[in-house]
């Protein structure tokens, strides 16, 4: 089943007189259960494309569909609503809310969906990333790897269709990077959750079932790995 479809996407950043064509006509379709990486040189448009899929940004032209709904017709609040239950994010920096504990960070997306008293769900998620004993720790009391694992648990909290991760391992050492990737791979296999990564990291790429290569804002190669 197709969960995300992008047709002829362009994105032009304009800063003063300077125009940057970050994406120049990208067509992309993502099916349920994929474990896909976007690769390409720095500045090739990986992050920009991921933001299009994640409804964080609107394209200059082209259309984005999530679950057959046209995102490009939605306003900010409608997009926020769509993201809430459908898309989870993992960022390169360990994007936790610094004032909240590991437990509360994972709980937050559930609260935003109006789901209260989800203690067993939250603990189950923390357990899945091996952090049930860190539930009451704040981000600054955890290592980078631990923080990123909390971010993974948070992204999974609402059972999203799609998880987007922008260089999730870039700030982690080999061991922690491998750990994060194997957690996500396992989830992908067990729950059929769709993952899309943007990365340079060969450790990530080797897990991928599909590798999309970008160059200068266009798709250069799109290969499936058996």
């Amino acid at each position: 089943m197709e969960i995300a479809k992008l047709t002829d996407i362009t994105r032009i950043y304009q800063i003063g007189e300077v125009e940057t064509h970050a994406l120049r006509g990208v067509d992309l379709s993502i099916d349920e259960g994929e474990f896909t990486t976007l690769v390409g040189p720095s500045g090739s448009g990986k992050t920009t494309l991921l933001q299009m899929v994640g409804c964080l940004d609107q394209p200059t032209s082209g259309k984005v569909f999530i679950n057959n709904e046209e995102v490009t017709k939605m306003n900010r609040n409608q997009r926020a609503d769509l993201r809430k239950g459908t898309i989870g994010f993992i960022f390169q920096f360990f994007a936790l809310i610094p004032t909240l504990t590991a437990y509360e960070n994972v709980e937050l997306p559930l609260l935003l969906m109006g789901k209260k008293n989800q203690k067993s769900r939250v603990m189950e998620l923390l357990d899945a990333v091996g952090l049930s004993d860190r539930a009451e720790h704040r981000p600054d009391q955890m290592s980078g790897g631990q923080q990123q694992r909390v971010a993974v648990a948070r992204a999974l909290a609402v059972d999203p269709l799609l998880i987007l991760a922008d260089e999730p391992t870039a700030n982690l050492d080999t061991e922690n990077g491998e750990q994060i990737m194997s957690i996500m791979k396992k989830l992908n296999e067990e729950t059929n959750t769709t993952f899309v990564f943007a990365t340079h990291d060969p450790r990530v790429i080797k897990y991928a079932k599909r590798v999309v290569t970008l160059r200068d804002g266009q798709i250069e190669k799109d290969e499936s790995i058996a």
Binding site: Q51, G54, L56, D57, R76, N77, A80, D81, R83, K84, G85, F89, F91, F93, A95, L96, I97, P98, T99, L100, E104, L108, P109, L111, L112, M113, R154
Partner: protein, 408 residues
């Protein structure tokens, strides 16, 4: 606990010193406004009370043309046989006391000094003279049949080094338009703690005042004090007369009441200024917080938080800050106001003459009211929340993608 409330509370804990400083700014604003409003109210009440007790009474009976300012001594402007009228008025149960008064202007001459003064002829035994009898600091009070004695105020006695037993000369305007000069003996020295009044008001028995001004059996007014000032209108109605005019304290103190309203208006601007300074501090604090947490707003946006909720996050923070600040302000301000309400601020002679119609004592006693405390607290709280509005909408305006690109 609601997650927005929880996050706001924790956000306040992030930079404790900054939060504390902002709360102190609100607290100081609140305490200052509390003290100012109680002081102005106290000053106005005190001044009105003095005006009533020393100069105007609750009610006056006088002729249509009588004006306090010019102290006319023409028969047509005065009341005939005032003692009979006043003893009749004293029969009314609501009336505490009533007595004739004769106002005249004159000059006091002593050694080489001459000083313009007001002479008030009083009925010495009357209750209306309580402020002067109770305020006697030297010598004795006047007797009704005293033909040479006068009562002078403490500032006059100090300035001229006059003591009971000393002789002074008084040059007094008469009803015939000329002046008469006679010597008098200082019987006693009084103080009402109202320098503007005490330094220029001399008392003598009514009969002597009538003789020297040649207004036999006439007085300027009958001066009436009530037990309860709320009875003013009722007593005024009961006193209606075809011959004379009955004026109440509100009518006589018209000027003063205008001044009072003016000072309320000035107070409003002063309040606005204090609150404006507080608002600037709060707005600055919250704008800094928005700036520092830009990326966090991006994360919250990516998680699906709507602009409305992000705005609520900052407004809740402002509200909590305001509540904390106001509570601290009340905790500091209330004891200070209550203390000064007892002790008073001593100012001495503020140089305002009693003839201006405004009577100021030498001390101001702040007069706190629950109503003032509530309105000051609410004003401080509302201003704090309003100053959170701009930063909050700045935060809510951020697109998640831009916020994620932000610093930090």
């Amino acid at each position: 606990m609601n997650y927005i409330l929880k996050m706001s509370l924790r956000n306040l804990g992030r930079n404790r010193r900054r939060t504390a400083l902002s709360a102190i700014a609100i607290a100081m604003g609140t305490a200052l406004l509390l003290l100012m409003s109680a002081t102005i109210r106290g000053e106005m009440r005190g001044a009105l009370e003095l005006n009533i007790n020393l100069r105007t009474g609750h009610l006056q009976v006088h002729t249509e043309d009588y004006k306090d300012e010019n102290m006319s001594l023409k028969r047509a402007d005065m009341i005939e046989a005032p003692m009979a009228i006043s003893s009749q008025i004293e029969e009314i149960t609501e009336v505490k006391s009533a007595a004739p008064r004769l106002n005249a202007s004159g000059i006091l001459a002593y050694k080489n000094e001459t000083i313009g003064i007001q002479i008030i002829g009083i009925d010495p035994p009357s209750e209306t003279n309580a402020p002067y009898r109770d305020g006697l600091v030297a010598g004795e009070f006047l007797e009704a049949d005293d033909r040479e004695g006068v009562l002078i105020g403490l500032p006059l006695s100090e300035n001229l080094n006059l003591n009971p037993g000393d002789t002074i000369n008084l040059i007094v305007n008469t009803s015939e338009g000329d002046t008469d000069k006679q010597s008098f003996t200082v019987r006693g020295v009084y103080t009402t703690d109202t320098p503007g009044y005490d330094k220029a008001t001399i008392f003598m028995p009514l009969e002597k005042a009538q003789t020297i001004t040649r207004t036999e059996n006439y007085a300027s007014m009958v001066y009436i004090l009530l037990y309860d000032m709320d009875d003013t209108a009722a007593v005024k109605n009961a006193l209606q007369s075809s011959q004379y005019v009955i004026e109440d304290w509100e009518e006589i103190n018209k000027l003063f009441i205008i001044v009072m309203e003016l000072s309320n208006a000035m107070m409003f601007f002063f309040n606005m200024m204090v609150l404006g300074v507080t608002a600037t501090v709060i707005m600055n604090t919250l704008l800094m917080a928005v700036y520092e947490r830009t990326r966090e707003m991006g994360i919250l946006g990516a998680l699906g938080m709507k602009s409305k909720q992000i705005k609520a996050l900052f407004l809740t923070e402002a509200t909590l800050l305001g509540l904390g600040g106001v509570l601290i302000g009340l905790a500091i301000g209330v004891p200070i106001v209550l203390y000064y309400a007892q002790v008073g601020f001593y100012f001495g002679d503020m140089g305002i003459s009693a003839n201006s119609g405004i009577m100021l004592g030498n001390s101001i006693y702040p007069y706190p009211t629950i109503g003032d405390a509530i309105s000051v607290s609410l004003a401080a709280l509302i201003i704090t929340i309003l100053s959170g509005y701009y930063p909050a909408s700045q935060a809510a305006k951020l697109e998640p993608v831009d916020a994620l690109h932000g610093t930090n």
